[in-house]
Symmetry: none
Subunit: 232 residues, 2 copies
DNA sequence: TGCGCAATGTTGACCAGAAAGCAATTGGAA
DNA sequence: TTCCAATTGCTTTCTGGTCAACATTGCGCA
């Protein structure tokens, strides 16, 4: 599955994680493989990702994670590794009867009901079902849940009626974040968050809706938008 | 199940992986089996893949993986063997190490590169990685794949730059469907499909882009949009 | 014995990927 | 803003994989 160079790099990353605790930077890898340019490393990394040995986040320093090791290295990936085996049915790609379940990097989050993106309709209620989401969407810390969007007030942000949004639970938000906000402990709504002095503006992404401004105490952030899933 | 030659090749690949850590190239296999041509190897490899003994990626150097070995070679491919094990932990919800696999209704589809939603950029290329998608998105028949959207021409349809779209392979489309269309066998683009008599209009969802009309023969539908995944 | 057929062997052309380098740009973080 | 890491574009060289066409071998069977 891997070429010599790819294997060499994977070994190096693995060793580095064991000794240093962190993945190496591109420059460190460059030195380790005696290259003069990082772009070579970049390509090897891409190849490793494509082959499913590592996972990474773009544009993040040292954001590499070893997902599996080739048999020849025969070891477990890093400590704390808990593979979550997900039985994925893969339509039209019949697996040989004897093969193991295919493992997919995904997670399931609870669908907690609907959220208004126009006039607030109803507060977050109970779990209605589970939705699978790609793993990278919920990476990092925090609890996550999903909501179905009702209304068209966020349409200019590419959030349509019927979309499912994935929310990370948090009490804080930065200017410009799209958040789930609970207004006066009553109504939950999905809006863009803007702090203006001591008040908070909740701005729709649709000129037909007015921005509403509340004093700080009236609004509680419940979560921040981290993903969106739409099925046609 | 296997012919003599196929078994011989499989044995060689296995030995090679054990000693070198990497699968042999076609040329190395050619030498090992005393052949004068790689194409014989190509056929044997194809046969082994068909019979489920190996897995591979087309057009990739040394991209062979042994999935199982015939009983005559002693069963298991080796300790530590784990097909496609990919991390999928749920942050803050650790499970006991010995827990059973959790079944999630999800599927993985190959990410095939980028697609222009503005001016066509590049045709669909090769697999860059895999993305997990909710099961219901790819239900029904057909092969599926994912593309990363470049450009803003579908922005009024809620498809933004950087979104990942999930495509079901098909050669036909209905009026109003959003499709991946290959224009003059050259450029792939994501547009709304509209048939007007014997010509086909590919319409952007952004007033800044013109609708382009082609004679029927110039446009080939490659797939239909069935889902969208966005990570913030 | 000779036919059909599948597996195998060979050649050679062709194209794509792997690897490497340098330069320029973008993105994130301090 | 400044720094550093990561990404991307482009080029070159070499290795590796694909494919079509055709020849050969060996086996089962009428």
């Amino acid at each position: 599955m891997l070429t010599r160079k790819q294997l060499e790099l994977l070994e190096f990353i693995h060793k580095n994680m064991q000794t240093d605790g962190v993945p190496p930077s591109f420059d460190e890898m460059k030195v380790a493989l005696s290259l003069r340019s990082k772009s070579g490393i970049h390509r090897l990394i891409t190849a490793l990702e494509e082959r499913g040995f590592i996972r990474r986040m773009a544009h993040r320093a040292r954001a590499i994670e070893i997902v599996r090791l080739p048999e020849s290295l025969g070891g477990e990936p890093g400590p704390g590794f808990r593979p979550r085996v997900i039985e994925g049915d893969r339509p039209n790609a019949p697996r040989p009867a004897n093969s193991d379940p295919i493992t997919i990097h995904a997670t399931e989050v609870p669908l907690m009901g609907r959220i208004a993106a126009g006039v607030p309709i109803e507060a977050i209620s109970h779990v209605t079902s589970q939705v699978a989401v790609p793993g990278q969407m919920v990476s990092g810390a925090g609890e996550h849940y999903a909501l179905e969007v009702k209304g068209d007030s966020m349409i200019d942000a590419g959030i349509n009626d019927g979309d499912v949004v994935v929310i990370r639970e948090t009490q804080v938000a930065q200017n410009g974040d799209i958040v789930v906000a609970l207004i006066e402990d009553q109504e939950a709504t999905l809006k863009r968050f803007l702090r203006k002095g001591s008040s908070i503006a909740l701005e729709a992404a649709n000129p037909a809706y007015e921005t509403r401004v509340y004093p700080e105490g009236k609004v509680r952030i419940q979560g921040r938008l981290v993903g969106l899933i739409r099925t046609y």
